[in-house]
């Protein structure tokens, strides 16, 4: 569970969110929507502990992230960024195994349990057949799945993804979101991801968090649909320049 209390954050000198309060639940898939530059990435990075220049509090399962050690944080939240990761000569299995870092010894050797979790993570994202291939010879969608498997291997109750669908084609976007929904519902994880895909978000997510600058609205999807905020914010019939 992610809780934001009086959370305010900016980017450079611009205020993005002011006194936001939100609660993102376990066992649910939540989409974070907002216009370009609204601060989706900034907010997710703050939740993942990568941006500390905010006021208010971010709590993960009741614990303030400012009071958590790096290792504690990595056992509570896993993050998938927009960065493309292509490490030559590193097999997918080894990439996913890096997700076990919070649990391995000083040199990073895997135990039998760790290995089992790595295989299970590859299986969950449907990439078990790719275990021995290397990322530099795979498509964007496949790499994305491997990076998600790596996050799963971290065995965290919370999973945060920044625009995981952006490099994918339409069928792959749906498939990826179905996978995320499955992780939330099947494994009871709290899954939060930012996206620009309104229809996918409305069709597959349990809740929607929406940045209506500088406010943050968090509602279950059916209520969000009825509220009309989405229509107002994303309407292409907005002000027309004359």
């Amino acid at each position: 569970m992610i809780e934001l209390n009086d959370f305010s954050i900016g980017f450079e000198r611009r205020e993005l969110l002011v006194n936001a309060n939100a609660r993102i639940n376990d066992g649910e898939l939540t989409a974070l929507l907002g216009r370009n530059g609204a601060g989706k990435s900034t907010m997710l990075r703050a939740i993942a502990g990568l941006n500390r220049s905010y006021t208010g509090t971010v709590r993960l399962n009741g614990l303030d992230i400012r009071e958590m050690s790096p290792s504690q944080l990595s056992r509570n939240i896993a993050f998938v960024s927009t960065q493309r990761t292509r490490i030559p000569n590193m097999r997918c299995r080894d990439v996913v195994a890096m997700g076990r870092a919070p649990y391995t010894n000083w040199i990073g050797n895997l135990s039998a349990d760790d290995n089992a979790i790595v295989e299970q993570s590859l299986l969950s994202v449907g990439m078990a057949g790719y275990a021995d291939r290397t990322l530099d010879k795979m498509s964007d969608g496949e790499c994305q799945r491997i990076m998600i498997a790596r996050a799963l291997a971290q065995s965290t109750p919370i999973l945060v993804l920044d625009e995981p669908t952006s490099f994918l084609d339409l069928p792959n976007r749906y498939e990826l979101c179905r996978l995320l929904a499955q992780l939330a519902h099947g494994q009871g994880k709290c899954v939060l991801f930012s996206t620009h895909e309104l229809d996918i978000a409305l069709a597959l997510c349990d809740s929607i968090s929406l940045i209506d600058t500088p406010h943050l609205q968090c509602l279950p999807t059916p209520i969000m649909k009825e509220s009309g905020i989405i229509d107002r914010l994303f309407s292409i019939n907005g002000p027309i320049y004359q």
């Binding site: 990568l50 990595s74 993050f79 292509r86 030559p88 590193m90 870092a101 919070p102 040199i107």
Partner: protein, 331 residues
């Protein structure tokens, strides 16, 4: 570990032992391996031969072995930390930082009325301080600037700035200390005395031990700093550890042998290529062995043709750099 890695480790170690022995036998007078063995084991051999082997060649061979391992591991750490295939102690200006420290010491000490008597520890200390200072500058700047080309250009600019300061110092100093400095900048594995060796060995071994402790953070840093943080590394501590290790390795070697180019840059690439692996559990010991092997080879070649060591490391290193640039892969 894959079987290929096992075979490579054993092969490299064996080659290293052979080259070490050859390095002891090759020189201005060629000494047969049998005599080398007798000299080391205090067996039956002429007294002059024993003196050459123990007092000159053994020291030089040990220096070549340690310097090769140290510079290569330092290069590997820099390449992974900065996620830049062209990073290395030489390119990033760590060697120039050490040069500045040494220049200030050798050329500046007479101004302060300090004699050359304390120069052993002084040169090492000055080189360490210079290297550490340069790393801190690059580290703080590099943290703010994400673009890797910028760090490289900054490194080059800093080297130029440092050489400018060095030139000014040269202009102002006495011939005697100037000569000492110029000789130091040429780079040599043979100028290390037995006394200095007892400083070099523990410093390099400590640096290598610290490098072993950086294996896990380095593996996570392959994914970039942000991913590394979300996977639980203490980024400040890891950076400190890597910087401390690199300063000990590159700083010490530069202090005693002068700036030796290209080894730190080229060896990690050669190691990645032959092991076909990006895992630092393989790469750290792999670069140590490969670095020792290559610098021993360079030393043997330099003795056979009486060439300066820097010329040979450059001739070996430049093709690797060109290959990296042309292939233009990230790490």
């Amino acid at each position: 570990m894959r079987p290929r890695s096992y075979i490579l480790f054993i092969t490299l170690a064996a080659v290293m032992v052979v080259l070490f022995a050859v390095d002891l036998s090759v020189g201005s007078t060629s000494i047969p391996l049998r005599h080398v063995w007798n000299a080391i084991t205090r067996g039956d051999c002429p007294a002059t031969t024993a003196r050459i082997v123990i007092n000159i060649r053994l020291i030089k061979a040990v220096v070549a072995l340690l310097a090769g391992a140290a510079l290569s591991v330092s290069g590997l750490q820099m390449q992974t930390l900065f996620r830049n295939p062209l990073a290395g102690p030489y390119v990033l200006g760590i060697s120039s930082g050490a040069s500045l420290g040494v220049a200030l010491f050798i050329l500046g000490a007479p101004f302060l009325g300090l004699g050359m008597s304390m120069s052993n520890l002084g040169i090492a200390g000055a080189a360490w301080a210079g290297a550490a200072l340069m790393l801190i500058v690059i580290g703080t700047v590099g943290h703010r600037i994400k673009d890797i080309m910028v760090i490289l250009i900054l490194g080059m600019m800093m080297s130029s700035g440092v050489s400018a300061v060095v030139q000014i110092l040269q202009y102002l100093s006495k011939d005697e200390s100037l000569k000492a400095f110029v000789i130091w900048t040429m780079g040599s594995l043979g100028d290390v005395t037995q006394r200095q060796l007892w400083l070099l060995i523990p410093a390099v071994i400590l640096g290598l031990l610290l490098a072993v402790l950086t294996i896990k953070p380095l593996n996570l840093l392959l994914f970039g700093e942000e991913y590394a943080i979300t996977m639980g590394i203490d980024i400040k501590r890891s950076r400190m550890l890597i910087f401390a290790s690199t300063t000990l390795l590159a700083g010490t070697v530069t202090a005693f042998c002068g700036p030796i180019g290209f080894i730190g840059l080229a060896i990690p690439h050669v190691t990645r290529l032959i092991f076909g692996n990006s895992d630092h559990r393989i790469l750290v010991p792999g670069t140590m062995l490969a670095g020792a092997v290559i610098l021993l080879t360079c030393d043997i070649v330099s003795k056979l043709f009486t060439l300066p060591i820097n010329a040979i490391t450059a001739l070996l290193g430049i093709p690797v750099v060109i290959w990296v640039v042309l292939r233009n892969n990230s790490l």
